[in-house]
Assembly symmetry: C3
């Protein structure tokens, strides 16, 4: 349990103190429910009444707020009470994450794994042979880290992340619960008798620094070589990245999108939710793919597409609008046909 005084908190949020600077708090609470030892805030004047009755030890309040009654809590006066509170809460959670360390029992750490300083390995985590985990990284409960996996520094693997053998994860990476890295790519060679022979998937996945990956996403290992997730890429939940795909720096992919095998995605690309990209094509830097689009051809630099099959964004919107007017277009054709018929018959 960490404890902070008003005097310690004030500089973090550029606050001025009204009351006892030595007043200390250990946790957060809503102003109407807070107990002694808690930090709270008042942003909405609708809740003003609670300010005068709250049991919170410290309350964050805006400079402009004028007290109508005496207040027992120590006040931290700031420009924006809400964002100051949120910012403290965030710092607190980061501190909490940073304070996690040590190897919780029971867990399984192979005797020849190498684990850096201040690393946390949660209960029921499995760390295989020759694994290397850099300093300050946090491996939450139920993670599986296969043989020969390398993990950088300050990386966080949330509960139940599964990383198959030989894969590499960089530093400052965050991977959310249930995500699978390095499962076999989907490759089968049809035999003459109709059976499907598995094509061995002997590559790996490399995830560079500062990548964040959402929950229950899957990234398959390469057939040979590496599936590559470049620096600063952000992937949402439930995304499928197939074998031998490469995703370029700072590209953002929204939930439930799928990228088929061997496709190369450039830098700063944006892919909307539930979009699908076929295999073996290239999305050049800055390309934009609208949600639910089905991309079947390469996209040049900076170009935006939508639809299935996807093409130029503005043209596609125009065609989509017209397709809603199809009943009207058909009616107009019918009218023309009828007029023409009359014209011809009366000719």
């Amino acid at each position: 349990m960490m404890q902070f005084t008003a005097a310690q908190l004030a500089p973090l949020i550029e606050a001025t103190i009204e009351g006892n600077p030595e007043m200390a708090v250990q946790s957060f609470g809503k102003i109407e429910e807070a107990t002694p030892g808690q930090l709270s805030f008042l942003a909405n004047s609708k809740y003003e009444e609670y300010l005068y009755t709250t049991k919170a030890s410290i309350v964050i309040l805006s400079h402009s707020f004028v007290l109508r009654y005496p207040v027992s809590a120590t006040l931290l006066r700031v420009k924006d009470a809400y964002s100051a509170f949120a910012s403290l809460l965030d710092m607190y959670q980061q501190l909490e994450q940073a304070s996690l360390q040590g190897i919780q029992q029971p867990s399984y750490v192979s005797p020849n794994a190498s684990v850096g300083e201040n690393v946390y390995i949660g209960a029921f985590a499995y760390v295989g042979e020759n694994v290397r985990i850099g300093k300050n990284s946090k491996v939450h409960p139920h993670c599986f880290i296969g043989n020969n996996v390398q993990i950088g520094e300050n990386t966080v693997l949330h509960s139940g992340v599964k990383i198959y053998h030989q894969c590499q994860v960089g530093s400052q990476v965050i991977i959310h619960a249930g995500t699978v890295i390095g499962s076999d790519g989907f490759g089968f060679a049809p035999q003459t008798d109709g059976r499907l022979q598995k094509v061995p998937q002997i590559g790996n996945v490399i995830i560079e620094d500062e990548v964040e990956i959402g929950a229950n996403t899957t990234i398959d290992r390469a057939t040979i070589g590496s599936t590559l997730i470049r620096k600063g890429v952000k992937l949402d939940n439930l995304i499928q990245i197939a074998h031998n795909v490469e995703v370029g720096n700072s590209t953002v992919i929204a939930a439930q999108a799928g990228i088929s095998g061997s496709t190369k995605i450039g830098k700063g690309v944006m892919i909307g939710g539930q979009a699908g990209i076929v295999g073996h094509i290239q999305l050049e830097d800055g390309a934009k793919v609208n949600a639910q689009s089905g991309v079947s051809k390469s996209i040049p630099k900076g170009k935006a597409v939508t639809g299935t099959p996807a093409y130029d964004y503005s043209q596609a919107l125009r065609s989509q609008a017209l397709s809603r007017q199809l009943p009207d277009l058909e009616r107009r054709i019918k009218e023309l046909e009828s007029i023409i018929k009359d014209l011809i018959s009366t000719k």
Copy 2:
């Protein structure tokens, strides 16, 4: 191992007993494979021969079935043998679930977690600090329950459910294997140098009573405040619910649908499989979204939509039908052009 006599079972399925009312069974079996101590049924006369040779101790049979030979099993005569058997099987599984209790070892339960009566905590489950679990709830193996999570009564978390810190789950809730509750929302602020700065996600997820959630679904925590799943909501497998979404009472969402951030969904809404809903819109009570639709605008009360982008269901069906006839429409336009050309030239 629970054991039931014919006399105990009969009132549960409104059966009359033929044979020994003290005959007891402990498990279920198919009539052709059953062993002594098992309960079986005959619904399909195709299997009648097995009735006379079965080793089952009790057989459920319809009132109308006329025996042609003597039967050694005790008979429970009912109106519909199949549904009586299914109903007993269901009661049995509920009893089995209810009979699970105690803390299986090895598991990890924080010393300051509070666990109610008759709670089951399976092997390899992780229960964090200040967690509260209400009576009769069942936490199956490999579940992760983060710090300060609250779980109500009679709730079942199947194997491998992950619930991040601070989230709340109500009573009579069922969550299936692999589902993730409370992962970070997908929010990043682009910096001038192209890097993407993570926006802290400091809210939580609140799941109210009587909700059921399928397998490998993901529900992100709110940026600030709560992602809300209201009472009686039913979510299928592999669904994505983004941060700050609200899903209203008794709404049903089918598999692989995705709801983007801050969208509000009313009561009794029905969303088909693989549908996608953009962020920051509202689906009013009773709205209906067809499977695979892409909803980009708010939907008024009770209205049905389909297509991508989705609009009025009946109109969209008419346009979809016409879009199949586009080759024919184009041919008709060509014919008109050719006739007009002739008309003008002969004029």
Copy 3:
């Protein structure tokens, strides 16, 4: 740690040996980074320089490659260095998988579970009551195997696979990490007061031999009876298979596709990524469904479909192409209208 000599490796890849046939290796490395005791290869002449300085003990090289300097490593000369190396790596990984055996601690194996010869049960795996696991099968860490589940021989369950009670998995099956087998089907009966009453799901899932299933896929148990995945089926990642579905022999389904309840899929069917199939229809043998299609009607034998709603592949492509030309079609209609107007007025 396994060790192999050049003489042992040569026949596996039809190689001839240049150098010491007793030279031994225990692992693999890139030619520019390899250390003594490692096996490497040179396929791309761009890296030729490393051949003369490498510390690898054995290097695989093509017959046609002409040395320009002396080489310290023992050489294995083959037709294609790259595929020979890949083939050895694959054999090695299969050996490694096969060499896994024994029950790693801590794990939970019910005293009345039956476990065959050479079975591996990883740390934190849970094996329930009356489970039967056939010989040589590998249950990786964090797997959950519910009561009465049966698993065949030579089957591999990767980390975190969850198999609910009563389900059956055949032999030579591979299931990737995070996949859930046997979760409840999605069935609710609306009550007069708007509440949704759960329909008990008391069937199971049966997975036949030689099936491979990707990561984080979900297969629901049948309401009554069995959800069936037939012999040789290959399912990719993040797929949804609903209750009572049947998937026929050697059918292939790509990532993120979804099959709704009670649909029957024949043999040798191919379903593209993100496709959705409604419930209660039939896809006959050899049907082909394009990626992202929405199939709402049964498909006859061998027929290919695309689009949402899906219909004949070639016709749909023609209509899709024309829908892009809708602005042009509308312009042509406008022109016709204007000409007709002139014709009539000048008449």
